[in-house]
Symmetry: C2
Subunit: 204 residues, 2 copies
Amino acid sequence: MNFSSKLIEDAVNAFASLPGIGKKTALRLVLHLAGQQPEVVEQFAETIANMRRNIRECERCHNLSDGRLCTICADNRRNQAIICVVEGIRDVMAIEDTGQYRGLYHVLGGVISPIEGIGPTELNVDSLIQRAQEEQVQEVIMAISPTIEGETTIFYISKKLRGLGVNISTIARGISFGGELEYADELTLGRSIVARVPYRGGEE
Amino acid sequence: MNFSSKLIEDAVNAFASLPGIGKKTALRLVLHLAGQQPEVVEQFAETIANMRRNIRECERCHNLSDGRLCTICADNRRNQAIICVVEGIRDVMAIEDTGQYRGLYHVLGGVISPIEGIGPTELNVDSLIQRAQEEQVQEVIMAISPTIEGETTIFYISKKLRGLGVNISTIARGISFGGELEYADELTLGRSIVARVPYRGGEE
């Protein structure tokens, strides 16, 4: 693309360095910003830079945080006895959005994957074990993706937690709400039959 | 969405204020930047802010420019006798990308649209007439979208240019290269037959 302006070209390349943003989209964004008031663009840039300057990892659960502890860990109305173990911060957001969980989290930062060279030491496993030892934890919920790597990770962590008097659970697997049976994969469908639950709809 | 971080939330809102960027995409971009080195993000923000701080409108053709004149106007190897009139800076880029044009441009900033309250005075028409009077212009090419507003704009400008000894042309309309006849709209197909050109392929 021929920008006939170094300023535009640099800004397009900056946006195009972001994941999923191509040159055309980047150009659209840059031309939009070029037409905005300078203060607006200054504010946009400062907001982004300020985010990176001040964002931290929560010292307790490794969630993204504005301070030493994230807002979830700092909220003492939440149930401190349950820890939900997730792969990443997006999972925290997804579970928070459901409004169904009022305990704490622990962000692993990934799953064990020998192929990608990610072992337990690359993940926040030790700090989870430490929390299970030091905090009054009654239950650890494994909210990890049901992949081979995920199952390996669950197995590894549950072995480490053994003997600490902590109940371990995993999130329920099965057919999605609104999901159609014929499009479900065999494994999910098979397991959902094996792990069937009593129907209570017809009870008095 | 529940971000549990004001810094992340502000940055997501900043990105989501851009056209075509929704909250989910904004979050993806922000989490990407949150994982980058601070210097990288600082540089990203500074590139964007610097663009807006220093970008100007070319005093001659109204193209975006880093200095008083844009690189196209400042390039004296280009044919100064031809001006290609376009609606916006994107059109300049599109025509430059073809590599088929070596004259100058004039960016109108839109087309005449009574419905949207855009009259000739809202557009860079006067400066075009002035250029036609003061510069050694031989031809003005109207590279304007073939809409009703576009045709109105071409008509208005051509009337204004009358008597200045300037040839006026419009870009060729017709079936796109690679376009299939049966999918062409009636108007384009009809006009392409009326405006047929002699075939020279079989000549010796």
